[in-house]
Amino acid sequence: MQDDFDQVLLGRLKKEKLAPASRWRFEVKNYSIWTLGAASVAVGSVSFALIVHLAKNNDWEIYGEVSDGFGQFLLLTLPYFWILLLALFMSVAYYNIRHTRFGYRYPLSALLAVSVFLSFSGGYFLYRSGFGRLVDDFLGERAPYYREIMNPQMRFWDSPEHGRLMGVISSSTAGLTFLLTDIRAKEWQVRCGICAKAQRVPINAGNPVRLSGHMIDDGIFSADRVLPVGTGRGLFRGRMMMMGGQFPVGDADR
């Protein structure tokens, strides 16, 4: 090392007019990391609330009736989008906590546990307070690709050839038959023989419903069971408005 190292260095500081970066810059950086971490936990919590909401309304008790087995039912109705979003934002939360001033001192497992705990507990709280349903309603009404990506139950119940149909009752006719407009605005004549007594939802025009049974012919469906719509309610509101109808009255608005 040169003998005049100190003086050369000091000379360079003066010549280049260098000064310590101001404290607020570091504070902003530090607060940004915390804010981003908190935002990630919040998004993770909303995702978890949606996962619980979708899981709670997934008709586990009748999977045998509407699918070829539990495995198929699970694969077709798992909310992959929200699970991926939850995993992504838990990772972002972990990354941010890790990059706080002393975040590196804690082991990966502890930081992951904190990230998981915060997202899960926050998500469960949001679910319990009804926020999961609120977000689901909102997204159903406004979000593009909601049916295709965000709520797999919509695809699952939009499958008349597999005995699952979903839509809005457009008019009840006499006896055990009513008309239903499905999610693609196609009209169906629904025969509701044995289901009439066991149904959990009144068959009134404007009610969104799901039906399990079998397709008799194109446009004709025989229902064994009529179920209320638990998730994706906003989607039906949008459809009804597009069709020039009124908001459905009944389960969807409860």
Binding site: D6, L10, R12, A19, P20, R25, Y106, P107, L108
Partner: protein
């Protein structure tokens, strides 16, 4: 100024640039040795690297958190500088081996299962060559532990790794070192 703590010198430097010289004076030899041990760079190039490190220290003085030792913080900046400039540093003309220069060797030998009945000079050369051949992450942890004599907590602060990872990396580094040492010893 000699009796002043690092924290006091940092505070003084933030008021008067000229006082930075006392911090530089306190750490320049330690950091020069550390960089040399890590990079295997020729002595003539050390000053350039060291200047960059001290400029960074000076520019970031307001980011220094006094709950951590200044020494660990300064070493961390040196560590980051070496990592971020690793390619440039590696491309410079190098000495033959990692610069050990002193102690540490004895402690390393005591902790690692390598041949002890060996000419001291030869053993030192072999150790330096072995260190130079290790992966940077292993070399650094051995250098910090045995040559810079840092505690696990200090190494954790310097490398920004949890203490548990420091311990497991050190264990891996010792095994790797013993393996490489035997290989080099056989071939000589």
């Amino acid at each position: 100024m000699e009796e002043k703590s690092d924290q006091e010198l940092v505070a003084l430097t933030l008021v008067n640039q000229d006082d930075f010289i006392y911090l530089v004076d306190r750490y320049k030899h330690k950091l020069a040795r550390y960089v040399r041990r890590l990079t295997n760079v020729a002595l003539a190039d050390i000053d350039d690297i060291l200047q960059d490190i001290f400029l960074k220290i000076y520019r970031n003085l307001n980011d220094y958190d006094q709950t951590m030792s200044f020494s660990s913080w300064a070493y961390r900046i040196a560590h980051n500088q070496v990592i971020s400039n690793y390619r440039a540093i590696a491309a410079r003309p190098q000495g033959n081996q990692v610069g050990l220069e002193d102690d540490g060797v004895g402690e390393l030998v005591a902790e690692i299962d390598i041949e002890r009945e060996m000419d001291e000079k030869l053993r030192e050369q072999l150790i330096a060559r072995t260190l130079a051949r290790l992966k940077p992450k292993y070399r650094e942890i051995l250098v910090l532990k045995f040559f810079e004599e840092k505690s696990y907590e200090e190494i954790s602060d310097i490398t920004r790794l949890p203490a548990g990872t420091v311990a497991s990396r050190l264990s891996g580094a010792k095994k790797e070192f013993a393996r490489e040492f035997k290989k080099i010893n056989k071939s000589t």
